[in-house]
Each structure stands twice: as C-alpha cells, then as structure tokens.
C-alpha cells in the first residue's frame, strides 16, 4: 500500500526543484520548449497507455473527466492540433501526474514526470539518437553513475510474429510473456496453439537476447524477414553512434523488451539505477498516436520518474540535509538596515525575524548547524565563524 498523500517537505522540495532546473536546462539546450498541459483530460477520449487506471470525476455536464496519468497523449494532441512551420517540433514538460492504483514497486498515487517529445515528418534514427542522448545526459546531469539505458526495438519481435503467422491477439499475450522472460509461459502458450517446436525455440531464445554488442549479431540468426532485419540494423547503428560519443558503458540491448505492441512502433528504452529495483525512465517511438488526433506525425519521447530519482538521491546519500549555509541576525533598533543588507545577499540565508543579541545569535547558529552568520548592530554588518560540531 503506498502513501495516501504525497507531501514534499523542504528537503524533498529542494531536490525536486534541483531536478526540475537541471532537466529543463538540458532539454532547452537541445531546443525543447516547455509546455504546461492541463491536469484534466477527457476520460472517454483518453489515449493514455494505462487510461483505465486514472482518477476520474463526473463533470458538471455529466461527462467523465480524469486526472492525467501521463503527459505524452496530451502533448501529442497539442502538436497534432496546432502544428507548426518547422519540424521537428520539440516540447518538454515537468509536472505531476496521477494514478488510481499503485501496481508496482516505486509507484505513487501522484508523481512528478520530466520528459521530452519530438514530433517530425519523416522517420529518422538521428532523432532516436538525440532522444537517447538526452536520456543518458539527464541521468548524468543529475549525478547518477553506473546506470544503464536498456534499449529494444519492438519491430524485431513484430517481424518474427508476422513470419510465423501469429495473430495480433496472441502476439499481445506472447509479448507480455517475452517481456517477463517467462520461457515456460511461452512454451505452454505456443504448445496450446499447436505451434512447432522449432518456432517455440525461436521465442524461447528471445528471452536470452539481452546484453551488449555481441547480442546484436546473435539476433540476426532469428531475423528471417526484412522488418526484423532493419530493426537490428537500426539498433546496431544506434549502438555504434552512442559508443562513438563515449556512452557505451551506459547502454545495453534487449531484444526481448517488448510492450504495448499497438502503441510503440520502433525503439523502446528503460533506465535502471543500481540499488533501485525498478526503472527510473521509460521511453520509445510512437508513430501512430498523432494520427488519432488528426495528423500523421512521427514521434519519440521519454519521461523520467522524478520521485524515483529523488528516492535514489536520498537513499544513496546524494542529498544534503542542511538547507541553510548562513544566517542573518540583527540588534534591536536595526531592523531597517538588516532588511537592506538582506536584499543585497546573493545566497540563501536564514533571516532571523526578531531582534536578538549576538550571544543568542551564536547559540542559534549552532543549532542551525551552519558555519557562519552575520550580525548587524551600530557597527554595521559583521561576519562570525561558527565552530561546527559534527
């Protein structure tokens, strides 16, 4: 059971702000413009991946509205309806999303997401690359190391299911089993369908096609069709280019990563951190979504699970607990001067609202665990060092 209310106290609020600043700074550097979509969406028309898990209300006119449980559909709708002169159109966002049931480890009822979406008029793996670079760099900028961005390509799987004449409904079930690497489940399911041992073996092998570069060459053994082959080519190209950029240690490949076959249309990826069992970042290519809003556009994006990163920062001791570095006190009768001095400060200081003598100021500074404070009296502003007791 997860928390009923998600409150951010000063420490977590500060980390949240820091994550917001760093991620948006990076996204904007690549030309992504910030947008603020509505918190509400039309439940009946919702195109979100897990729409039934949203928090719903009855609107005054009797229709059902829901709190957004992700940003992507809303951003896609905005782009499809408003368009632009020059493509790619690049948008980024930072905000809260909501869900009714918390199904997995790391899930919260309300959670922050930071993400980018790139909309374009022709398919291009350079855009895949750009978005992957942003995924890697955003984690690096946030001070994470030793992470991996695990990359898959759903067309590899789609090509193979088409090859063996597996219908869409079965492919969807099979995709869930492959994604869980449940090869017994795959066996049982395909045996029931009367599919030959040779084919079952192919799908069983998919559960082991994860790792580094060598798996890309191994994948060719299972790709007898053009769709799967070009999926491998694409991943290979992406892997090589990212390696040239020096990112090889931050990426891994998984041909068995397949989810939401009717949503994702190309590469998909998830980011994993050490000591945190669940993904902190998910993304992928979704070339069919914009069409449902009336415009044919290619699209790719990702979202960072901000709370999960926050959780990792606190767990791994990355977060510094002390907010104040310095304090400002003043003697009775010097309030006006204190305010004027305070406004000149560049850094954040703890301004003690009431007048106080210098001895008490020292005691308070020790309690605040700060290393210096400023005191204002008839002699003007004076800086004092505090011996910090650890």
């Amino acid at each position: 059971m997860s928390r009923k209310f998600v409150d951010y106290y000063p420490l977590t609020s500060r980390l949240l702000e820091e994550i917001r600043r760093k991620t948006l700074f990076l996204f904007k550097k690549f030309g992504y413009q910030l947008i603020e979509p509505s918190t509400f969406e039309d439940y009946e028309k919702s195109k979100s991946l897990n729409g039934q898990n949203s928090i719903k209300f009855m609107d005054s006119d009797g229709t059902i509205i829901a709190l957004r449980n992700e940003f992507t559909p809303k951003v896609a709708e905005i782009v499809a309806k408003n368009g632009g002169e020059v493509y790619p159109i690049k948008y980024c966002y930072f905000g809260r999303a909501f869900q009714f049931i918390q199904q997995e480890a790391g899930d919260l009822r309300e959670f922050y997401q930071a993400g980018v979406e790139n909309f374009h008029t022709s398919d291009s793996y350079y855009i895949d690359l750009e978005v992957l670079v942003l995924a890697i760099e955003s984690l690096l900028q946030l001070g994470v190391n030793n992470f991996t961005i695990d990359i898959g390509e759903v067309n590899f799987f789609k090509g193979i299911t088409a090859d063996y004449g597996i219908d869409d409904a079965s492919a969807e079930i099979l995709c869930k089993l492959v994604d869980k690497k449940d090869y017994i489940g795959i066996e049982n399911f395909l045996i029931k369908k009367g599919i030959s041992d040779k084919v079952i073996d192919v799908f069983r092998n998919l559960t082991r096609l994860y790792g580094k570069k060598d798996k890309i060459n191994e994948a060719y053994k299972f790709a007898k069709n053009e769709i799967s082959k070009s999926a491998i080519e694409r991943l290979k190209e992406i892997f090589n280019k990212l390696s040239k950029l020096g990112y090889e240690k931050y990426i891994s490949i998984d041909f068995g990563m397949v989810k939401h076959l009717n949503y994702y249309t190309g590469i998909i990826f998830s980011g994993y951190l050490p000591k945190l069992g669940y993904p902190v970042l998910n993304g992928g290519r979704y070339d069919n979504l914009c069409e449902t809003f009336g415009k044919r556009l290619y699209a790719i994006g990702f979202a960072l699970g901000v709370d999960r990163i926050l959780n990792w920062m606190i767990k791994s001791g990355e977060a510094e607990a002390n907010f104040y570095k310095a304090a400002l006190f003043y003697k009775e009768g010097f309030f006006e001067i204190a305010i004027k001095e305070l406004l000149k400060f560049e850094k954040e200081v703890y301004f003690y609202s009431n007048p106080i003598d210098v001895q008490q100021a020292l005691t308070l500074s020790k309690e605040l665990k700060i290393s210096e404070f400023y005191y204002i009296d008839e002699e003007g502003i004076k800086r004092y060092n505090v011996e910090v007791q650890k």
């Binding site: 997995e104 017994i184 069992g277």
Partner: protein, 209 residues
C-alpha cells in the same frame, strides 16, 4: 555481491541442494535454521531466508537480486520480475478439490464458496475461465479443514502427492495449473550486474543434467 531470496518451507532443501550441486556455495544453508541472512564466501553470495510469498517482493524492490519461488506464488502476487528459469524442483499442481464423491453436485451448485490461500488465482479461474462469480474465503493454512467443517464448499490449493487430501476425505475435482519452482530476477539487477548471467548459466546446466 549477489543477494538471493530463498523461500522457507517446502522448497528450501531442494533449492539449496541445487546451489550446492552447481558448486556455487560451500556452506550448508539448510542446517542453519535460525539465521535470516547467510553469506557464502565461495561465490560471493548472500542468502535471505523469507516466507515464500515475500520472495517476489524482495526481488521486485531489488533488495534481493534474485530469488527462488514456486509458480503458485508468482501467479498469485503478479509482480514485475523476470522469470528466467524453471528449476524443475518442487513440482506440484494447483487444484480445485472438495469432499470425495461430491464433484458433480458441488460443481453444479449455484452459489459456491471456495476457501483458499490463493484468492487471486481462484478469482481469475472462476471469473475468466468459467465465467462464474464465487465467494472466496482467504485462509493462511490447513485449507483442507474448510470443507470438512462447512466453512466452504470446495478449496483451491496446491497438491503434491494428494495424501493430505485423501487423509481428510477430499479429492481433486479439477487440475488448474502445473507448478514448479522458478528462478526470478530483478529487472535492474539483470541489466546492471554481470555476475548474474554466470549464476543463471550454472543453474541451467545443473537442471538440464
């Protein structure tokens, strides 16, 4: 170091035997009945002794990198973990069972009451497979008692030899799912810790022998 969650109870001996035969450990885990955490220098492994139903939880959160647990538990709790290997130990099945000789009568009964340790599996089977709405009573053990004392009409439980059922005047009505122990792995660990692949291959070779 790799942390492995092991289920206390019916699987523990076979599971530790598997690690020993694979030459992955030097200590005798099953003899250490009181300790909850055990470390082995040989393979740089750490073992957590937890209740079977808690194994998927420890693995999902990444507290344990991998775990051994029966498919019955995985079907019931449905956690996001990789199910990489069938260890082919602890084989049994989940069955719908009830008082001997009353199968026809009870399966026709309109408002059935089922006692079980596995409410989700039971609900899934009756709702999605049979299309029936039944009352489910969740118990934590000695489920065979329920139909004898009239708490329920039937039970859904795991059956190994069928001896407990027979000794209590019950019999299997339907076999629902085959069960065996699985090796489950945390999603992040599989991608971040290269040692895991070696352990998986080692165990896999042992199973195939």
């Amino acid at each position: 170091m790799i942390t492995i969650a092991l289920p206390k109870g019916r699987l523990i001996e076979e599971a530790t035997e598997l690690f020993k035969r694979s030459s992955l450990i030097s200590i005798d885990i099953s003899q250490e009945t009181r300790k909850l955490v055990l470390e082995d220098q040989l393979g740089n492994l750490r073992f957590l002794m937890v209740k079977p139903f808690d194994v998927p939880t420890y693995v999902e959160y990444g507290i344990a990198d991998m775990g051994i647990v029966g498919k019955d538990v995985l079907l019931e709790v449905n956690k996001k973990v990789y199910e990489l290997l069938d260890l082919k130990i602890g084989k049994c099945f989940i069955a719908l069972a009830g008082p001997k000789g009353m199968r026809e009568e009870l399966l026709k009964k309109p408002e059935k009451i089922i006692a079980t340790k596995f409410p989700n599996i039971t609900k899934e089977y009756f709702e999605n497979v049979l299309g029936e709405d039944v009352q489910i009573i969740k118990l934590n053990g000695s489920v065979e008692l329920a139909p004898i004392l009239g708490l329920s009409d039937m039970i859904v439980d795991i059956v190994e030899s069928g001896r407990t059922l027979r000794e209590n005047g019950l019999e299997v009505y339907e076999k629902l799912y085959d069960i065996s122990a699985r090796l489950i792995i945390n999603r992040a660990s599989l991608k971040l810790k290269s040692e895991i692949e070696g352990i998986v291959n080692c165990l896999e070779r042992m199973i195939l022998q």
